[in-house]
């Protein structure tokens, strides 16, 4: 390696990636070193792409990599150039400058202005002392870039950017574009705040907390709206992957068992020599599946995602039925089937159109399970796998273990997928451990865990 300190910086960077769930081993680090050797350090973007080629191993990890890269290989140190000479004096001037840059779509200016904004508005505590730092949230809160859209549109129109032909249609396109630019600018501010915080508090600490995890490791319970939308988009490709896996398992189990009786009968026609062996084909019936989902506030995101996933996998099962509950149970199979086209509003539609909430929207496991066993117990039979999704937080009510027992006794398998950390089971009002004594309970906090569970648990 050429420059001093590069090796250390690179290994620290790889360490940070590992902590964020990108499994880069020594071989990858060596590759990364070789890539740097070939590319040199003149162009930061080339270095970024080169390291990504060597260290990133799948598509979803790129965002994590980029955030870490900005921390460990920052574009500069301290306040960016623009901030030193003709910096905006106050908030209003800064907003003007940001609006102008948004209208231009000038990436470079926006990146610099993000730096200025963090410098001006984002500092807290003792500025750059030990107790202080920089907050992206605080910066955006004071700057309010989303309120600039109207101003930016006016600027674009004045510049003649939106041509008059097409009229309203072009206008709407432009508005969407400006919205996306504002979103990018917010991303710039976050990166910049992380960079400045890293200067104050040390990179490794910031890397540990400030980088968002890759999509398939996002915790269901704390996923933001944008992350949930990203997860919903992942349903289709993920379901294809899982379907291939399930099909492969099915193929493997039916391979190559000799059916002795039929082979011997056939061998009679060839003088007792088994020329054509006959194989035993088990014809496995595809399993039926019943989902029973808790849709109360905290776990709704997890339940919705799983519903969509099972629905996307429906050709792997002979029958899929979905039931949802908050404090009473209702069948929502038809809504889920229709919801594939519009996954975004699935949760809301279920709450509107099905009788899942009777009282106040707090989950009542006892009542909901009683409702299920009373009305739909015949949906569960000896070929059914039941998946119960929920955090088992009964709000102090009766957990109704008898109902779970009744379901277990009729079904082929019952699994409980709990989106909470195992350490939290049966703390507070959670009856998780009581349920776990009756049926297998698995921690299922993110997409990664869910996909392994689906392929491992479901019978073939």
């Amino acid at each position: 390696m050429s420059a001093p300190g590069v090796t250390e910086r690179l290994t620290a960077f790889v360490q940070a990636l590992r902590a964020q769930g990108i499994p880069a081993g020594p071989a990858e680090t060596v590759d990364a070193g070789a890539a740097l050797e070939v590319l040199g350090f003149d162009d930061r973007e080339l270095v970024r792409e080169g390291l990504a080629a060597a260290l990133v191993r799948r598509g979803g990890q790129r965002a994590v990599f980029d955030a870490a890269f900005d921390l460990y290989f920052p574009a500069g140190v301290g306040v960016p150039e623009l901030a030193r000479d003709d910096r905006p004096r106050d908030l209003e001037q800064l907003r003007e400058a940001v609006a102008a840059a948004l209208a231009e779509g000038d990436q470079q200016a926006l990146a610099q202005l993000a730096g200025v904004a963090v410098e001006m508005l984002g500092g807290y505590g003792a500025g750059s002392g030990a107790g202080g730092g920089f907050s992206a949230h605080q910066t955006l809160d004071r700057l309010q870039p989303q309120t600039l859209i109207v101003r930016v549109l006016a600027a674009i129109r004045a510049a003649g950017g939106g041509s008059d032909e097409g009229g309203e249609f072009t206008d709407r396109l432009t508005r969407d574009e400006v919205r996306r630019r504002v979103e990018d600018f917010r991303g710039n501010v976050r990166t910049e705040a992380r960079r400045r915080a890293a200067e104050v508090r040390g990179r490794d600490r910031v890397a540990k907390h400030a980088i968002a995890p890759a999509a398939d490791r996002v915790d269901f319970l704390i996923a933001s709206r944008a992350q949930l939308a990203q997860l919903r988009r992942a349903v289709q490709p993920l379901s294809r992957k899982l379907a291939t896996r399930l099909a492969a398992r099915r193929k493997r189990t039916t391979r190559g068992q000799i059916d002795l009786r039929r082979t011997l009968r056939r061998s009679l026609s060839t003088g007792g020599v088994p020329v054509r062996p006959a194989f035993r084909h088990r014809r496995p019936g595809r399993p039926e599946i019943v989902l029973l989902c808790d849709l109360s506030g905290s776990v709704a995101g997890f339940a919705n995602f799983t519903m969509l996933l099972v629905q996307a996998l429906r050709d792997q099962f002979s029958k899929v039925r979905v039931f949802a509950f908050v404090d009473s149970t209702d069948e929502v199979t038809h809504l889920v089937t229709a919801g594939v086209a519009d996954p975004e509003h699935l949760g809301a539609r279920i709450l509107e159109e099905a009788a899942v909430v009777r009282w106040d929207g707090h989950s009542d496991y006892g009542g909901a399970l009683r409702g299920f066993t009373g009305k739909w117990l015949d949906a569960v039979g000896p070929r059914t796998s039941v998946l119960i999704l929920g955090d088992a937080r009964t709000n102090g009510g009766d957990p109704n273990l008898d109902a779970v027992r009744a379901i277990r006794d009729r079904a082929r398998h019952v699994y409980w997928l709990n989106p909470e950390r195992r350490a939290l089971w049966s703390t507070g009002d959670s009856a998780a451990l009581a349920y776990a004594e009756l049926v297998e309970m698995h921690e299922c906090r993110n997409v990664q865990q869910l996909s392994t569970l689906v392929t491992r648990l479901l019978p073939v």
Binding site: P23, G25, A27, E28, D31, A34, A35, V38, L39, D43, E45, L46, E49, G50, A52, A53, A54, V56, R57, R58, G59, R62, S163, E165, G166, G167, F169, T170, R172, L173, D176, E177, R180, A229, R232, R233, Q236, P237, R240, K241, T244, R245, A341, D342, P343, E344
Partner: protein
């Protein structure tokens, strides 16, 4: 080490552009590294963003021959690597009835009776080669093991012939649509490149290059509408191939600019699902029926 086709990252961009492939920084950098470090390049990304075209373009600029292995479910060693031409061997044996077994045996396992499949083709011969393993994820896990073996040190052992080693390492591109997880070992052996949809600026250049004669303003609005569509939550997002198709369609229709009418009529070129078309119509607010006046 390496194939040595290119002298720098800019050189990669310039050369690929000459054969009509406009590479983003990420693509150019990774191709350059694969060329220099002599590692295979694993390219992932949605359908229609130009994964296969990349291999073809690299072959074109380096004037190498392109050997293509198209993977499918159930592909095996005999289809990917080599097999013996049994029919020809039988003919040879029957033709030489009066010779000894020794002569016949040494003869029928010679070069002449070997059917070279793509992987073996790529590492034999002296000219420079680009090996394209297309849709690697469709193949079974056993084939992945085979690929690892071959791509590891570019040599294959045929029991009757001995070891065949490449005199010139091929430039290897593997593509995958991520329908199945490729094994960690294979990923580790490769440089990874995720080609995503190009940014508007690059896409505009691609459209202008691929659809000559298109009006600049029209191309610009096409790319903008496509960008708006990709920001929506659709089942199948339009890829670059669809952008080009659509631009061609509009050119055929003689549209000078985009308005709602034309977009609504030709949306079927861009989107492949009916519910996507409905959703896009609502998103672009095409559902308001226009006055014909």
């Amino acid at each position: 080490m390496g194939t040595g086709f290119f002298s720098s990252v800019d050189d990669v961009s310039a050369q690929l552009a000459e054969v009509g492939y406009l590479a983003s920084t990420a693509v150019a950098t990774t191709v350059f590294l694969a060329d220099r470090l002599g590692k295979p390049l694993l390219v992932e990304g949605p359908a229609g963003v130009g994964k296969t075209e990349l291999a073809k373009a690299v072959a074109a600029v380096s004037s190498s021959r392109l050997v293509r292995l198209q993977c499918y479910e159930g592909i095996d060693e005999a289809r990917a690597l080599y097999e013996w031409n049994h029919a020809k061997q039988l003919l040879r044996i029957t033709a030489g009835r009066d010779e000894t077994w020794e002569d016949a045996r040494t003869d029928i396992f010679g070069e002449e009776f070997l059917l070279r499949r793509p992987l073996l083709q790529a590492i034999s011969g002296t000219e420079s080669t680009v090996l394209l393993v297309d849709e690697t994820d469709k193949a079974d896990v056993e084939v992945e093991g085979l690929l690892l073996e071959v791509l590891g040190d570019f040599q294959v052992t045929v029991p009757e012939l001995g070891t065949i080693t490449a005199t010139r390492d091929p430039f290897v591109v593997l593509t995958s649509n991520a329908t199945r997880e490729l094994s960690e070992a294979l990923r580790r052996r490769c440089l990874f490149l995720h080609i995503d949809f190009p940014d508007p600026e690059l896409e505009l250049r691609i459209v202008k290059l691929r659809v000559p004669g298109i009006d600049a303003a029209l191309a610009d609005s096409v790319v903008r509408v496509i960008a708006a569509l990709r920001a929506m939550d659709l089942r199948k997002l339009p890829s670059v191939a669809e952008t080009i198709d659509w631009a061609r369609t509009l050119l055929e229709l003689g549209a000078g600019t985009l308005d709602e009418q034309i977009v609504r009529e030709s949306l079927g070129v861009v989107l492949k699902h009916q519910d996507d078309i409905t959703k896009a119509g609502a998103g672009l607010k095409l559902d308001q029926v226009l006055d014909a006046s």
